[in-house]
């Protein structure tokens, strides 16, 4: 069975104990974008960490059923989107709000960054989160998916349940909404 994108994975280092090299490669190749999507959809680093764990655990247990109809990346995105959507509908999500200071650690830039840069990156991350939180859910997801250059418009369309043409049309409006909302966070 041809399972694309696995070959892009760097050598397994982080997960030496994982059940197989294949799963380790899957994690290595995709954990960053899945964590980022979870973080920006949920708006809380701790919950994004939990969600990333759950998404990959689900993917690992379902791996043998994955037929390669879509790319691994799109398949993982599908699991993550559904998982975040379920979480956002729960009572806890509607009533518990993340603390502002939680965002300090999650966007941890490289240690070599200057304090000024660290501050700027943190501030930018906070503003992006506030901006995304202020957008309709449809626009938020669309922008986050389109920002991943490895996803095609067809894949974004499939993940958002629309046609590629509709994605292009809505993307234009989503960009405008993001820009307007981002200016409000200054």
């Amino acid at each position: 069975m041809d399972k694309p994108l696995i070959e892009q994975a760097p050598p397994a280092q982080l997960l030496p104990d994982l059940a197989s090299e294949e799963l380790t490669a899957l994690y290595q190749a995709h954990h960053r974008e899945i964590f980022y999507l979870n973080l920006r959809l949920l708006g809380d680093p701790q919950r994004a960490e939990d969600a990333t764990h759950d998404v990959f655990l689900k993917a690992f247990t379902k791996w043998k059923d994955f037929r390669g109809d879509s790319s691994c990346r799109a398949w993982l995105y599908r699991i993550a989107i559904n998982h975040c959507s379920n979480l956002r509908q729960t009572w806890h999500n509607r009533h518990i709000f993340p603390a502002e200071e939680d965002f300090v650690e999650d966007n941890a830039p490289a240690n070599t960054d200057s304090p000024l840069r660290v501050l700027e990156i943190k501030e930018l991350g906070d503003r992006i989160q506030k901006t995304l939180d202020g957008l309709p859910e449809e626009y938020r997801l669309l922008l986050l998916l389109v920002a991943d250059q490895e996803l095609s418009y067809d894949e974004v369309a499939a993940l958002t349940g629309q046609t590629p043409d509709a994605v292009r049309g809505k993307l234009h409006r989503a960009r405008k909404a993001f820009t307007a909302q981002f200016q409000k966070t200054a």
């Binding site: 994982l18 990333t52 043998k64």
Partner: protein, 73 residues
């Protein structure tokens, strides 16, 4: 004294370069997607996710191997 002056100059130059680099990298985004891409690059997955996954997998029933692996092992 001379070294101190030189050191300060270098330090100032470094600060200016850092500021310029930060301004260039953070504020020059053509589209929201560019900004999100930059943000994504700065965001690291905590190592604890991998550790938790390992623990969780150890507690799970053994994953089924493909038939060809079972046959040839």
């Amino acid at each position: 004294m001379k070294y101190e002056k030189k050191f300060r100059q270098e330090e100032q130059q470094q600060v200016s370069e850092n500021q310029l680099q930060s301004q260039q990298t953070i504020h020059d985004f053509a589209t929201p997607e560019d900004m999100l891409r930059f943000d994504a690059k700065q965001t690291m997955t905590p190592n604890s996710v991998a550790e938790r996954l390992n623990r969780s997998l150890k507690n799970q029933p053994r994953l089924a191997q493909p038939w060809w692996k079972r046959l040839f092992s």
